[in-house]
């Protein structure tokens, strides 16, 4: 099933990528080829086969509840794009209306 141009635009929105029309066209063609290729996994008879999400069969890992030093606010904020009153300053997060 080929991927529609509208679906690619929707994927870009979900992915928080503000792509131009030309870039969307280019990506749509490439994604179509890639999705057709990876769909090959559907040929495999896998009924009743459990899924593997991780190569190491891990149980939950705990550590002792001990205090250690964490990074200072100055160090953490030193790489922020914008800082105000020792906090990350971000663009508005609520709509006007």
């Amino acid at each position: 099933m080929p991927i529609a141009r509208d679906d690619v635009a929707h994927l870009a929105r979900l992915s928080r990528l503000a792509l131009g029309e030309e870039e969307l066209d280019h990506l749509a063609a490439q994604l179509d080829v890639i999705i057709a290729a990876v769909a090959k996994v559907q040929e495999v008879a896998a009924e009743g086969i459990p899924a593997t999400s991780h190569a190491v069969r891990l149980v939950n890992v705990f550590r002792d509840d001990v205090l250690w030093e964490c990074l200072s606010a100055d160090v953490v904020l030193s790489q922020a794009p914008a800082v105000e009153q020792q906090r990350f300053r971000v663009p508005r997060i609520l709509a006007e209306d």
Binding site: L14, A18, Q30, I34, I35, P50, A55, L58, V75, V90
Partner: protein, 499 residues
């Protein structure tokens, strides 16, 4: 003296420094001079940290002068992939979105290198966020293969592989998610090992696909790779997927270099259609060589390996779409379009569109697709089942043989630009390396000669079960010793790109 120092192995350098025959400072200066000489052509590094390297070398010399204990790699220079955080050098992951970022903490592996007295010369180029097989996806331009500057050094750890092959450093560190250590090692004619998943810490390694990412060593000899493997590995409480088990005895295995009594399995699914004839020829000769050295060779079919590539290109992008969501323009990295009128979400989307390169965008969108409701079961869910079947193929194989072998990559180094806008062609470079990543097993590449049609290096891949890393070093060291003896000099002497 400078040329002699840069030509030495890590093991020999460490011994000479420890014996006081040469200072760590001299060794570092020699490598910095070599970097200055060849970097304009190779472009292996994104950042050379000459001052920090000299200071680290001086500290080793002072420790020695004070009678302190030097570790097995103290004073040896190393090229570190730019995906490991370093407090005193920028960390960009080859991405414009992290251009100029100075991390607030060291990766566990960075810390272990410093503690071991290893001298970090700088940070090496890579495909953006380790996604690619050529370094052409780096926002800062590609690196060049020291065998032929018009060809790729492989990727994503292509900068580290090129630095080691160009004698800019005897040691390099990369990360392997689908082949990103072994494939560049193969096409640059050096040794590269992917340890067992969880055997080397991911703390402070900027995440690509968390269930696959594995840091590992690159070097010009199998023993050097093993020495670095031991120094960088071991349990890390800061990484919840770190394996709490002793590091496999890889140095002893590399010194043993003996395959007599071992059973070696050739995987027919990993040496068929699409494999360059010269690659196949060198591979087959190496298998015969192992037989002549006393190994028993048998064919072992792994029927689901043919589905490893499609499964990987669903699993890895799915994890990418989640992991790269952290680049949101809010707390660190690039922020564009914040003019007071735009919302946080608009700024985020503009920043990501400008800051990520083409391959990162493709994979984020592919992963978003594979995880969306309605497609999840048919794509991501199915790929996870295929992953189980690949693990079972390995388990069945390792009941019959000690290691599996194949060519590392289907072709030798390809020309720069050839595959950059053809993602599927690029993905095929990892065809033979991906199965071990999906299973979390150990695997490595060792040079096995030059392809007759183009005179470029061919890699021989040895795959071992999880925590059986020492087995692959035994085999790789035996191959290296036999081929060096037959040739009479190291393979890299034939590299002409910088001649």
């Amino acid at each position: 003296m400078d040329g002699e120092l840069t030509g030495m192995t890590a093991a020999a350098l460490a011994a000479a420094i420890s014996a006081g025959e040469v200072s760590a400072a001299e060794v570092t200066d020699a490598h910095l001079a070599r970097i200055e000489e060849v970097e304009p052509r190779v472009r292996a590094f994104l950042h050379v940290a000459a001052g920090q390297a000299r200071a680290a070398a001086r500290a080793v010399d002072q420790r020695r002068a004070a009678g302190g204990d030097l570790g097995p790699l103290a004073g040896v220079p190393l090229a570190l992939k730019d995906v490991f955080t370093t407090v005193d050098m920028p960390t960009t992951c080859g991405s414009a979105i992290l251009d100029g970022w100075c991390p607030p903490y060291d990766a566990t592996i960075t810390r272990r290198l410093r503690d071991a007295g290893v001298v970090i010369l700088g940070k090496t180029n890579m495909d953006e966020f380790a996604m690619g097989s050529s370094t052409e996806n780096s926002a800062f331009g590609p690196s060049h293969n020291p065998w032929d500057l018009g060809r790729v050094p492989g990727g994503s750890s292509g900068g580290s592989a090129a630095a080691v092959a160009a004698y800019e450093a005897p040691l390099g560190i990369g990360t392997d998610t689908g082949g990103s250590i072994r494939q560049p090692a193969a096409v640059c004619g050096v040794v590269g090992a992917k340890p067992t998943y969880g055997g080397s810490s991911r703390y402070g390694v900027v995440a690509f696909a968390s269930s696959l990412d594995t840091p590992g060593p690159l070097a010009r000899t199998v023993l050097d790779a093993a020495l670095l493997h031991e120094v960088m590995s071991g349990h890390d409480p800061c990484d919840s997927t770190s394996v709490n088990a002793p590091v496999p005895p890889v140095v002893a295995a590399a010194r043993q270099a003996d395959v007599s009594g071992m059973t070696i399995g050739v995987v027919p699914e990993l040496a068929g259609e699409g494999c360059q004839p010269g690659v196949l020829a060198r591979f087959s000769e190496t298998v015969e060589l192992l037989e002549s050295l006393g190994a028993k060779v048998t064919e072992v079919s792994c029927p689901h390996f043919s589905y490893a590539l499609p499964a990987y290109y669903l699993i890895a992008p799915s994890e990418v779409s989640s992991n790269l969501a952290r680049f949101d323009a809010m707390r660190y990295g690039l922020r564009v379009g914040d003019d007071g009128t735009r919302s946080a979400e608009e700024v985020m989307a503009l920043t990501r569109a400008q800051g990520f390169g083409a391959e990162a965008k493709r994979r984020i969108m592919l992963g978003t697709y594979a995880l969306s409701s309605g497609y999840y079961d048919a794509y991501y869910g199915k790929a996870q089942q295929v992953r189980t079947l690949i693990i079972r193929d390995f388990e069945a194989a390792f009941e019959r043989v000690d290691v599996l072998v194949s060519p590392t990559t289907p072709t030798t180094a390809f020309p720069l630009g050839e595959r950059v806008d053809d993602p599927m062609a690029m993905y095929l470079a990892d065809l033979y390396t991906i199965p071990s990543d999906l299973a979390g097993n150990a695997a490595m590449s060792v040079p096995c000669g030059l392809a007759p049609e183009d005179g470029l290096p061919v890699g021989f891949q040895v795959m071992a079960p999880a925590l059986g890393d020492d087995r692959m070093y035994r085999v790789a060291a035996a191959v290296e010793a036999a081929l060096d003896a037959r040739r009479g000099f190291p393979l890299l002497n034939e590299a002409r790109g910088l001649a």
